[in-house]
Amino acid sequence: MLILTCPCCGVTAEETEFHPGGEAHVKRFGPGSNDDEFHSYLFEKVNPKGVHFERWRHANGCGKWFNAARCTVTLEVFGTYSAQTTEPPQDIKDKISAKRPGWSWREFA
């Protein structure tokens, strides 16, 4: 069971109180982009074994979106942080580096 702490309301709860929202830090390609970019924005999601960044919504709680960094193998959660970011905060990256040296995810490492 995945246990997440919502950074918006501070509640730590198991995953049934939350709703997953797919990959985090997806860069949007909208009007004006070419077909390849739009296709990649819509469909090309990563599905890593190990470190992953996801969006979650505290659906049965405060209702806010946030981002979570976790391991898809062990369900270990490295940390949760504000959804109003374009990349994982340094302290989250440091925590992951301490536990999974040499990790990388998309353009982040």
Partner: protein, 190 residues
Amino acid sequence: MSEAVSALNGATDEGFVRIAECGLTGMITLRGDLGAAKLKKAVKALCGVEPPARGHVAMADHTAVAWMSPDEFLLMVPYAQADELCAQLDQALAGEHALAVNVSDARAVFRLSGGDAVREVIAKLCPVDMTASAFGPGQFRRTRLAQIPAAIWMPEEGVMQIVCFRSVAQYAFDLLKNAATPGSEVGLFS
């Protein structure tokens, strides 16, 4: 105007705890910048209590203010005054980026009483640690009650209040009734 009735019209049930639908309860949703001085002042003037901290509920005799989310309070007031108080809030918050809406008829409130066993009824239905050290009077928790969203708080030890959407009031009542069926005590918290 037609006569207002609450979702289950004050239905009650006697299990190993007593379950009662609270009847008409005034509720105002207030959204805005909860840290703004103007908003805090308006809430205090209306409800007579200091606005609660994150995850808490502030209670007075006939009113309460619950922290719902980083930008939302739920004000509980006497039903008959809800419209008037809502208008007062609007006036007090003129010019602020805030919204006050009377949601009294969109919610249902339940009250469980019967000592420590009320913790057990909630523990059967919600993924929340109900031990006394983890949850007690003054705290406010929005969570999942079986398949529906709900919020719980304890006005005092041995009493639990639950608020959920009116449309699922019957479902919530049946859940609570079932969880409090005599003979189904687990005795975790007694």
